[in-house]
């Protein structure tokens, strides 16, 4: 039982870390603000979620596990809102937008 829970933790946390890594690579390598936002919000939503799922079996109380889920929900809400606001500001200010490989 413990070994199974440990396996769940390891697999999910590693998967979450992969998405965070991918998000950061996207932040550094993508050509414009909108595509970078795309990479970052994926990392926040999916990466954080996977880490949270991975950590939930390690909580000593089910309520603590629920608190972790709440952290994920709030994180997604914040990431989505900030992503929207930044993207809107990009459009309003007429900043350059990537049109595909030249």
């Amino acid at each position: 039982m413990t070994a199974a829970l440990d396996a769940i933790t390891v697999v999910f946390v590693l998967a979450g870390c992969f998405f965070f890594l991918a998000g950061n690579v996207g932040l550094l390598r993508f050509p414009d603000t909108l595509t970078r936002l795309h990479a970052l919000t994926k990392a926040d939503n999916l990466g954080l979620g996977l880490v949270v799922i991975g950590l939930m079996p390690r909580m000593d109380h089910p309520l603590s596990a629920l608190k972790l889920l709440l952290v994920w929900a709030l994180g997604m809400l914040a990431a989505a809102t900030v992503g929207q606001l930044i993207a809107r500001s990009v459009l309003r200010r007429g900043l350059p937008i990537w049109k595909g490989p030249q």
Binding site: L74, L77, A80, T81, Q84, L85, R88, S89, R93, L95
Partner: protein, 330 residues
Amino acid sequence: MTAFPLLDPALCFVILTTAVLAVAIRTVFAAVVSFIVFGLLMAIAWVRLGAVDVALTEAAIGAGLTGVLLLSTVARIAKHRADRGDDVPILEGPEPDPAPTDPLPGLATQSLAIVLSAAVAAALVAAVALLPVPAPGLVAEVGSRLSETGVESPVTAVLLAYRGYDTLLEIVVLLFALLGVWSLTADARWGGQPGLRHLARPDGVMAYLGRLLPPIGLLVGVYLFWIGGYRPGGAFQAGTVLAAVWLLAVMAGLVPIPKVSGIRLRLALVIGPAVFLAIGLAGYPLHGAFLGYPPAIAKVLIILIEAGLTISIATILGLLVAGAPEERPS
């Protein structure tokens, strides 16, 4: 002590990298953002050091509220420039730093600054290395009489019982800082609304967030206030969360900013210090000393003080970030 020995060195390295960025990066806006990241990483450092109370405070105040304050300062400076006709949009392009009028110091001064700051840092590192072992501490002393305070969280006991006068003076300092901010209002704008004005579109995502988050934020704030008696949390963290929720609702355009002359606003500002002072003075007849709580009712008194403090801290912090009135009274 940890299964992953590289975590602490890596964290310290990233903290110092963001610190260097906040000083060296080209634009002021980017410097503020670097400083916010620095503050959030510091909060993780506090968790690593086992100081969860401090981590909560650093994340909420050191990174959160300070960050909002600095970002809105940068935005308002840009607005002043726009009002004057200087076309320098801060958020869009590299804001010139120094502005043409702000000369960087000469090479001699810069070299001296490097020598001086390196000397300060080296002296402090040496001081850490030369500290005596074993280190002195007050854990046993705090624990020995914790039961008399009625609270279970040692940090709350220190803040409101052992060093209650510190916290009383602190809330007065907060109040004085707000008076200082308000007294910097231009005469013509006195009585007007604080400078923070964000008109979000009524159907926009910001207005949506402004409706969705406040109930959750209120719940978290009250929870932090209540849990402060037992576990990490307390009036300062709770007050900060409440202030943040209020600022969010204001920025989303859902709640009007109160005028600084409003009587209810002023009552909310002073209720914390007033309750604290009253209970402190009642300590003379009840327990023979200023801020002396009789053990039988210590817990009730501390919760009363914390409740008043939470209201006042939330109001003061929100208004400190909102700033001095910038709009003429209508």
